[in-house]
């Protein structure tokens, strides 16, 4: 085990994969200068300019050149700089990358990783702060990952690169500088498997990416109020670990879902709807979704706080479901529903 920052863990994961497989290469703006966040530092020196390609500001081409190169036998890692700029490459991602395998009847594969640091950071306002994971979960053909820990930043980077599917890697930019334990070896985090970040009995709290630490903090506070919270770090959004979530909720019979993205039509809706479908009669309180209000991200810190999902807001959600109905009441009603 090594203690390292999340950003260093992603970097280590990518570097190890590039050493392992010479077909892996990366492309994006400013990569020859180590990348805008420094996460490619030393790559040019180690892997050379053919495998560490500093590109023009041409997001559409970054994505589609990546695709063409994937179709022609390489395994590109496509750097989008921040998730918002993917909007400039959406046709290439959704109409091309996601669909080639299917559209061409299985002749083609697009083994690509698309890196998208996402979410709020340093008061960056409306065009540099978005979380659009719900969009990409909706798109057939894509795998969608959203790690929250150093170990998973590394382990899911490796899994993404080894996958033959196009994989979207949402990266938790705002917590990149935090640290965590990373296994020393060639540890690959399995795709589609959630991580139980904290055990608990009263409420299941589902979260991912930068919201996981907030969820854990909220769980901690809730514990002090006598609410025992199980925190599920989803890690993979598609495929998502329905079994783990449902098993937990089946036990706790209360669920909160928390994500930084806008709540309306966010991925939390899919999870809430699924819990409703599978466990409707057994819940003792309605599922609560905690997400941003449906507003663009504002600049001023206090306004940003109105947008921001915080551990307090999550805690409020936990209290709401915990309060909802008393256990005794639940036990009676559940017998008949």
């Amino acid at each position: 085990m090594n203690e390292m920052t999340l950003i260093a863990a992603t970097q280590a994961g990518l570097a190890e994969e590039m050493r392992r497989d010479t077909r892996v290469w990366c492309l994006g703006e400013d990569l020859a200068r180590g990348g805008v966040f420094g996460q490619y530092a030393g790559f040019l020196e180690e892997f050379g300019p053919k495998r560490v390609v500093s590109t023009p500001i041409s997001e559409a081409m970054i994505m589609s050149a990546g695709l063409g190169a994937a179709l022609a036998g390489t395994r590109p890692v496509v750097e989008m700089r921040i998730a918002d700029f993917t909007l400039c490459a959406m046709d290439e991602l959704v109409n091309q990358v996601a669909k080639v395998r299917y559209m061409f009847g299985g002749q083609a594969r697009a083994p690509m990783v698309i890196r998208m640091p996402h979410g709020l950071a340093r008061f960056s306002a409306a065009q540099h702060s978005q979380s659009l994971e719900a969009w990409l979960v909706h798109i057939p053909g894509l795998v969608v990952l959203a790690p929250a820990t150093a170990a998973d930043c590394k382990g899911l980077m490796k899994a993404a690169i080894r996958s033959d599917d196009p994989v979207i890697l949402f990266e938790p930019r705002s917590i990149w500088a935090s640290t965590g334990e990373v296994p020393g070896g060639d540890d690959v985090t399995p795709i589609g498997v959630a991580r139980i970040a904290r055990r608990g009995d009263d409420v299941t709290l589902v979260s991912w990416s930068m919201t996981v630490p907030l969820a854990l903090a909220a769980a901690e506070s809730a514990a002090r109020e006598g609410i025992s919270v199980e925190v599920v770090d989803l890690r993979s959004l598609w495929p998502w670990d329905k079994e783990a979530v449902l098993a937990s909720v089946a036990r706790t019979r209360r669920a909160v879902i928390a994500h930084e993205a806008v709540k309306i039509a966010g991925f939390g809706a899919e999870i809430a709807a699924t819990i409703g479908e599978e466990l409707a009669g057994t819940l003792v309180a309605p599922v609560v979704r905690v997400g941003a209000p449906r507003i663009p991200v504002p600049y001023a810190p206090l306004l940003e706080d109105a947008y921001r999902v915080t551990s307090e807001k999550i805690l409020a959600g936990l209290r709401q479901v915990a309060r909802g109905r008393s256990a005794a009441h639940d036990d009676r009603s559940s017998a008949t529903t």
Binding site: R23, W25, K50, R51, V53, T55, P56, S58, A60, M61, M63, S64, A65, G66, L67, G68, A69, A70, L71, A72, G73, T74, P76, D91, E92, N95, Q96, V100, R101, Y102, M103, F104, G105, G106, Q107, A108, P140, G141, L142, V143, S163, D164, D165, P166, I191, G192, S236, W238, P239
Partner: protein, 328 residues
């Protein structure tokens, strides 16, 4: 020209003629079965434009790659795909090149380096550019060619793709087929300035302009351009004027142009032109006729093959989506 040279040119002419006739026959066959309701989707025919794929692809190896457009039958055949599997694809059958999942607009044959037709105007540009970049990375000597229409030159990927190929000196040939129309609109209405070749030159890409209905000329220009690509000089650009004899789609009755215009342009048929040249050069009428007859037989066989091919079962709809998280 020496006799040997003349013979080589005649052989090349015959090759190009065969390629063009096979494309034409394929599309006419497709049109006829479409009229009978046997092809469910829409077709974009390239009748009149066959010199372009024939001339360009004659210079490509099997391992070289191409990216195509919504009007991709010709590129597909010229690159070496089999008409039977292609026809089955148009029929939406299991033996189609895409197992019935793509149809005409996504026809593709990766086995011959045809990386797909594309439903998005300009969508193939980045794919060809990326394939060239992979070739460079892998050092395998492949080049790629990218076909697109006059309409694509006003979309962002045109600029981004050309610039990209230039700065990395990628071995890619951009082929602009100006067929006089983007859907119902003429390029002159929507393309500012001197046009596509000037744009390519402004990005530092050597540009070739050629009569797009002259298959030999297309071939020769493409040969020279691709030679540059193969020699590591980076991208090249080929621009050709041709004419879309049919409508934008098979359903388009072209109210926006006159019958006279079409008549006039029909007289400049690239197949007839090459046939005449070859006849002048002494190729026997019978030999020329044989090509047409063979193509006709090939396409009838393709139709028969397509008709006989199984309709994909509903479960096929769920396959080949993705490994992780596939639908069930």
């Amino acid at each position: 020209m020496s006799v040997a040279q003349t013979n080589t040119r005649v052989a090349l002419g015959l090759e190009l003629l065969r390629s063009m006739i096979r494309i034409r026959s394929f599309e006419e066959a497709a049109r006829s079965v479409h009229a009978k309701g046997e092809i469910p989707g829409v077709l974009h025919l390239s009748i009149g434009q066959e010199a372009m794929p024939a001339g360009v692809c004659a210079n490509l190896r099997l391992t070289d790659t191409i990216a195509s457009t919504h009007r991709g039958h010709g590129h597909c055949i010229a690159k070496g795909a089999g008409p039977a599997a292609m026809m089955a694809e148009l029929f939406g059958r299991l033996d189609g090149t895409c197992r019935g999942k793509g149809g005409s607009m996504h026809i593709a044959d990766f086995a011959v380096g045809m990386l797909g037709a594309n439903g998005v105007v300009g969508g193939g540009i980045g794919i060809a550019v990326g394939a060239a970049q992979a070739a460079r990375l892998l050092g395998d000597g492949r080049v790629s060619a990218c076909f697109f229409g006059d309409g694509a030159v006003n979309r962002g990927p045109f600029l981004e793709g050309l610039n990209w190929a230039r700065i990395y000196d990628l071995p890619v040939l951009f082929v602009c087929e100006d067929n006089g129309f983007a859907a119902f609109t003429r390029p002159t209405e929507t393309t500012g300035g001197p046009g596509a070749p000037a744009r390519a030159r402004s990005i530092g890409i050597p540009t070739f302009e050629v009569d797009g209905n002259d298959a030999m000329a297309v071939h020769d220009a493409a040969a020279e351009a691709l030679e540059q690509c193969r020699r590591g000089k980076g991208p090249a650009f080929l621009y050709a004027l041709t004419y879309r004899i049919d409508g934008h789609t098979i359903a388009d009755r072209t109210p926006y142009r006159s019958a006279e215009e079409v008549q006039l342009r029909r007289a400049d048929d690239p197949i007839e032109r090459l046939r005449a040249t070859l006849a002048e050069q002494g190729v026997e009428a019978a030999a020329l006729m044989r090509i047409a007859v063979e193509a006709e037989h090939e396409m009838q066989a393709a139709i028969a093959f397509a008709r006989a091919s199984p309709i994909p079962g509903v479960h096929e709809a769920l396959s080949d989506v993705q490994d992780a998280g596939a639908p069930s």
